[in-house]
């Protein structure tokens, strides 16, 4: 078995402001080459923290206490800032959640897209613009020239997200982290964007870490899933296995609480108190174990 492109090993983190409350509890997951790996959890589960840890942008009130993030044989957490910066943007890219805040409102699209190309690949302005044009075509934007000359506020949400995806794939990274990339979009636009991400990913052989709270979305685009609750991995496996035959009570509760339009009485089942109690106990036992081994 070939080595995974990204391997997170026993990653732990705490919140310094909250009396060292654990945010991540020995999270381990692996993303193979060309795999789309879904990181699923509700808000506060720690999914964004993991994404930020990979990108080296953890907020100052959080601290990684243990574990490694191995990318192409190197632990990202132990890299010097300048080495990390060399890796990011070239080999690891981000598709952010909110297209309206991720783009600088006072710069045109082509300036924002060509930044990376000119900086990392040393392309001239003209070459970079040509490449940006080709990328916009690849993300199925019909009038790339108009988009390149526009400011972000002149484009719709879906269009902006396509631009961000194009920018992410511009340098042909080995890993793309997609942080809730369709949450802010209409459902029909969402499907088009998911289709786009999948096709780009297949064409370039990129690995994707797809962060989402939406089980339906990850079901359609991810090969494998990691289910996260309170910073701890509850279940992991192929998407088909996890969704069709969930083993952990949390995954089952999550599936039961999701409304489905093809089943009228779903979506009205909150997580039963016994399950919540069992989850709390599991977390408490874990924390005690960690404290004990200190």
């Amino acid at each position: 078995m070939t080595a995974p492109r990204l391997a997170i090993e026993a990653l732990s983190a705490i919140s310094l402001r909250d009396g060292n409350r654990p945010i991540l509890r020995r999270v381990s997951l692996a993303v193979a080459t060309g795999e789309v790996h879904g990181l699923v959890g509700e808000s506060g589960a720690g999914k964004s923290t993991i994404a930020k840890a990979i990108l080296g942008i953890i907020p100052s009130q959080l601290k990684v206490t243990d574990g490694r993030i191995v990318f192409e044989g190197r632990d990202l957490l132990s890299l010097l800032p300048k080495d990390l910066r060399a890796v990011l943007g070239r080999d690891i890219a981000l598709v952010p959640q909110d297209p309206s805040t991720a783009l600088n409102p006072s710069r045109r699209i082509d300036a924002q897209m060509t930044d990376g190309l000119r900086l990392k690949r040393g392309l001239s302005a003209k070459q970079a613009r040509l490449r940006a044009h080709a990328l916009l075509e690849e993300v199925q934007i019909r009038d790339p020239k108009r988009v390149l000359d526009s400011y972000p506020h002149q484009l719709s949400g879906g269009m902006r997200q396509r631009v961000l995806i194009a920018a992410a794939f511009a340098l042909e990274p080995k890993l793309v982290i997609a942080d809730e990339p369709t949450t802010a979009l209409d459902v029909t636009v969402q499907k088009q964007i998911l289709r786009l991400i999948r096709s780009l990913q297949e064409r370039h052989g990129t690995s994707v870490l797809f962060v989402s709270h939406d089980l339906g979305v990850v079901a359609k685009i991810c090969d494998r899933l990691t289910v996260l609750y309170m910073g701890k991995v509850m279940e992991q496996g192929s998407t088909a296995d996890v969704l069709a035959a969930p083993r952990h009570p949390y995954t089952k509760a999550l599936l039961a609480a999701n409304p489905r339009y093809d089943r009228p009485d779903t979506g009205l089942e909150p997580t039963p108190p016994e399950v919540i109690a069992a989850l709390r106990a599991e977390i408490a036992a874990f924390d005690a174990g960690v404290a004990g081994s200190r």
Binding site: E42, S43, Q154, S156, G157, G158, M159, D186, V187, T188, V189, Q190, K191, Q192, L194, R195, R198, H213, D214, L215, G216, V217, A219, K220, I221, T239, A240, L243, A244, A253, L254, L255, A257, N258, P259, R260, Y261, D262, P264, D265, T266, G267, L268, E269, P270, T271
Partner: protein, 282 residues
């Protein structure tokens, strides 16, 4: 129909002045292009649409918060669009609203108790503060909040708790009609389930008519009997949930339903269903 509590016909709502600094060039200022909708007594109707569909505007027009450029809204026999603010006030008690963001719908400077008691006193449902407080305790019990909540401020509660306060405020006046505008959009799936279940129970117990605005068709399916599908200020289709979801007549409805990802692996889903026309916005 004799059973209709709320009947809106030909609603046209327009915003702003065309070509003003605040509308994008090419944006039509007309948000609703002649919408008809009816809500029967004790009926739960879902209003679904994507962004720009006009569903929020429709909701506010139904409550008389926006004056339509044309059309009428008849509530229990009275045309509220023809009434002025003062004449509408007695009807206000009977038409209430629950908001999407409980943070901005609960005044941060008022205690929860004050937020719930003042409407009761305003409409004379209780004559004294103590009597109003008793009513408030009752409603807090019903929505699953502790009685001590009356002393808290909105920022001291969790998202789910705040939303319950929003529900409590809407039903404490015993209205006949409630408008719920995207009330579960920001919630975790488990909290969402709690809130939806509570709402379904309350509408049954209190015989409330409910108009439930949402962009999420699956949520609408879970609590609504009928659904109205909107697109760009027009009603595309409406009818009982079973029929619409099983056999949608309009192509747009079909596209909308098809775009909803169910939590099942389905390899062909991504490539299936070419969009009806790539919407100008995408």
């Amino acid at each position: 129909m004799a059973d209709d509590l709320l009947l809106a016909r030909g609603l046209v709502v327009a915003y702003g002045r065309p070509g003003s600094l605040f509308t994008r060039r090419g944006d039509s200022p007309v948000v609703l292009h002649g919408v008809d909708i009816r809500v029967g007594k004790s009926e739960t109707v879902g209003i679904v649409g994507e962004s720009g569909s006009g569903k929020t505007t429709l909701g506010r027009a139904l409550l008389g918060l926006i004056k339509p450029a044309a059309g009428s809204v008849v509530f229990d026999g009275s045309d509220i669009t023809a009434l002025d603010e003062r004449a509408r006030r007695p009807l206000r008690r009977r038409m209430q609203m629950i908001f999407q963001d409980p943070m901005s719908s609960l005044n941060p400077r008022h205690t929860i108790g004050r937020i719930l008691i003042e409407p009761i006193l305003l409409h004379g449902l209780a004559k004294s503060h103590a009597a109003a407080l008793a009513l408030v305790h009752g409603i807090l019990d019903r929505v699953g909040l502790s009685r001590g909540t009356v002393d808290f401020y909105s920022y001291e509660l969790s998202g789910g708790q705040r939303q319950r306060v929003g529900i409590a405020r809407a039903v404490v006046l015993r209205p006949d009609f409630v408008l719920a505008d995207e009330i579960v959009s920001g919630l975790d799936v488990s909290t969402q389930a709690q809130v939806l279940r509570l709402l379904k129970e309350l509408t049954g117990e209190m015989h409330l008519a409910l108009a439930f605005i949402s962009h999420d068709l699956s949520v609408v399916r879970s609590i609504c009997q009928r659904v109205v599908v909107m697109r760009e200020g027009r009603v595309v289709e409406e009818g009982p949930c079973e029929r619409i979801f099983a056999a949608p007549a309009a192509a747009y409805t079909r596209m909308l339903i098809d775009a909803i990802p169910l939590p099942t692996t389905d390899p062909g889903w991504l490539s299936r269903g070419a969009s009806v026309e790539v919407a100008a916005s995408a």
